[in-house]
């Protein structure tokens, strides 16, 4: 009978251990959208390190930095003694992910998703992975409601502006978003159309093709606008000066992760893009 307390203690410890396995305390997060979701679930204090694409919220930036998501260093991550690596679908290289699993680290790769449903899937996935399934469900429902409202707002506009998204520039030619890109998806959700047609992915587009496409609005990430010398420089470039966008000075500059991340702020992105595209 004297042993009973010890048995209880052992059982309690085992349970604690089991609970711990479901609720990781030292999380390494790779992928801006994933990190945002973890913070939105209120588990930001359990994150010990993030990748270079995780720049929101600002507290995430001060965490330990593991570098670029497709260039993870297995041993570097292990040195942080994490109990979970949760990453976007494109984390790599595969060899590093394999090595991390071999070393006994739990690795969870989120589903790919740049649709409203994809966002919800990611939220539920992350909630489950970090032991906050109920909170994940709540957040998913909130995002779903907000998204419905945002889409309603977008549908409220009767016009369909033709938008061109410039990611950056390669060898002097603007790198423009074609079909099957996050930019194309968010433009459609905001009730606008992508002026760059006939190709998929991000491609350098010739000056004449841009003039031919006649976009009404130039959309860029605010970081890129800065880097390429400000919006005036961009709008006065010949390929944009000769388009409706350049002549009426219609442009939208938004934070890259907000615009393209398809994280929990996706409804906000849809709403602000839809409004901004109409000069709001």
């Amino acid at each position: 009978m004297r042993r009973l307390p010890f048995l209880f203690l052992a059982a309690a410890l085992l349970l604690a251990e089991a609970a711990h396995a479901d609720s990781p305390q030292r999380i390494v997060s790779a992928g801006g959208d994933i990190t945002e979701i973890i913070y939105a679930l209120g588990a930001g204090d359990r994150v010990i390190a993030v990748d270079s694409t995780s720049n929101h919220p600002s507290e995430a930036v001060s965490k330990e930095q593991i570098g670029y998501i497709r260039r993870l260093a297995a041993e570097g991550i292990l040195s942080l003694q994490p109990d979970l690596l949760i990453a976007a679908h494109d984390a790599g290289p595969p060899a590093a992910v394999e090595q991390l699993r071999a070393a006994g680290l739990r690795v969870e790769l989120a589903p790919k998703g740049n649709t409203p449903e994809g966002v919800l899937e990611k939220v539920r996935f992350v909630g489950k992975a970090i032991g906050l399934e109920a909170e994940g469900e709540t957040l998913a429902q909130r995002v779903e409601r907000d998204m419905a409202k945002a889409l309603e707002t977008a549908k409220g506009y009767t016009d369909t502006p033709r938008v061109i998204f410039v990611l950056s520039e390669r060898d002097g030619a603007p790198l423009v978003a074609g079909a099957e890109t996050s930019a194309d998806a968010i433009i459609a959700l905001a009730g606008a159309s992508n002026a760059a047609e006939g190709f998929s992915g991000y491609k350098p587009m010739s000056q004449e093709a841009i003039i031919e496409a006649a976009p009404d609005v130039l959309l860029m990430m605010s970081q890129t606008v800065e880097r390429l010398g400000g919006i005036d420089v961009m709008l006065s470039r010949p390929e944009f000066a000769l388009t409706p966008a350049g002549q009426e000075r219609r442009y939208v500059a938004m934070d890259g992760l907000l615009l393209l991340g398809f994280g929990p702020r996706a409804p906000e992105a849809v709403r602000s893009l839809a409004t901004a595209l109409r000069g709001g």
Partner: protein, 352 residues
């Protein structure tokens, strides 16, 4: 001889009596040990011993056996392969600036690898599943072999292999390869672009035992072959005519060297990406230490090459943990300045 020897004859004598190779070997062993013992994850001597005895825990065992050991083995293969290929190239072309990159072997391998990264979507899915992870190394290996065969055949058109022709054909092949890679970059999507940018900076973190052992076997077989070429390479320094009169089948020797270089460079580039400067720098360092005779330069260059690669890998692993810069940055950072210093030295001596 004067073309390839960076030091006069007395250099070798300076080390007479000192077991130079024992020192080089010891240095290499120390670097290998450091590669295994040091890293972002701190493993105590107890952990290392436990793993060696097969009693380690999962974490330390995986780190040592799945991460550090394959890196060390691959690093040695890469170092040996590149250093010996560079050494043989410099010898047979009688050109101190030659390295496998010069005649386009590396560029050919790069075209193969980049093609797989960018065009892989179209055909990799059709390959049987076990082969898929090896599509990239296979592509690189095939690219390297193809270019070597092409360049050597071209230089052979005029009868005997023409060294000037070989180098010029290499320049042309490099230009064509650059254009092909440019075309791939153009049609690549965002993610492929990043993958190929990083691939082109090299890494020995591939970490897969299957790939490491295949690469190592190919590179070591070629390396052993090249190690036996010392006498031929020495005679080549007298000029091809003299070498011929000394009883060497110069055409056969050239083809043997070309084949082994292509195998070694193709295999290591396939596994680790294009790693610059080791093929150029290691032989020069070896000559500074052991003098110009190839039977000494070859093994010394191999030992130095292995130590340089592992040293560079150790540097990138320990520099900014938990991230890891590409190893190509480190080798070029060591190799570039060394090469400049070499040029300045020759300039002062009126070597050009």
């Amino acid at each position: 001889m004067s073309e390839t020897s960076a030091l006069p004859r007395h250099a070798a004598a300076r080390f007479a009596g000192i077991p130079v190779f024992a020192l080089l070997g010891a240095a290499l062993l120390i670097v290998v040990f450091a590669e295994l013992a040091l890293g972002p994850v701190r493993l105590g001597p107890g952990d290392l011993l436990a793993v060696l005895l097969g009693e380690g825990e999962q974490g330390p065992s995986a780190i040592l056996l799945q991460i550090r050991l394959p890196r060390a083995v691959l690093g040695l293969a890469v170092g040996f392969g590149l250093a010996l290929s560079g050494c043989a190239m410099q010898g047979v072309l009688r050109n101190p600036l030659a390295d496998p990159g010069l005649i386009g072997v590396t560029a050919g391998a790069a075209v193969g690898a980049v093609s797989v990264i960018v065009l892989g979507n179209y055909f990799v899915g059709d390959l049987p599943a076990p082969v898929r992870p090896y599509a990239l190394p296979l592509g690189a290996f095939a690219g390297g072999l193809l270019v070597t065969a092409f360049v050597f055949s071209l230089s052979h058109l005029s009868g005997g292999t023409n060294v000037a022709m070989l180098i010029l054909a290499g320049v042309a092949v490099n230009a064509i390869a650059g254009a092909l890679i440019g075309a791939m970059v153009y049609i690549s999507d965002d993610q492929q672009l990043r993958d190929l940018t990083f691939w082109s900076m090299g890494s020995i973190a591939s970490g897969n035992w299957m790939q490491v052992s295949v690469t190592t076997m190919l590179a070591l077989a070629a390396a052993l072959g090249l190690l036996t070429m010392g006498r031929s390479l020495d005679l080549f320094q007298l000029g091809e005519r003299a070498a011929f009169h000394a009883g060497i089948d110069i055409e056969r020797e050239k083809w043997r060297i070309a084949l082994m270089t292509a195998i070694a460079v193709g295999a290591v580039t396939a596994a680790a990406g294009p790693i610059g400067f080791i093929g150029l720098v290691a032989p020069h360092m070896a000559r500074l230490i052991v003098g110009p005779a190839h039977r000494n330069v070859l093994p010394a260059a191999a030992l130095i090459g292995g130590a340089l690669i592992l040293g560079a890998d150790l540097a990138v692993r320990l520099a900014v943990p938990p991230t890891e810069p590409p190893i190509g940055l480190a080798t070029s950072m060591i190799g570039g300045p060394f090469f400049l210093w070499l040029l300045m030295r020759r300039l002062k001596r009126g070597g050009f």
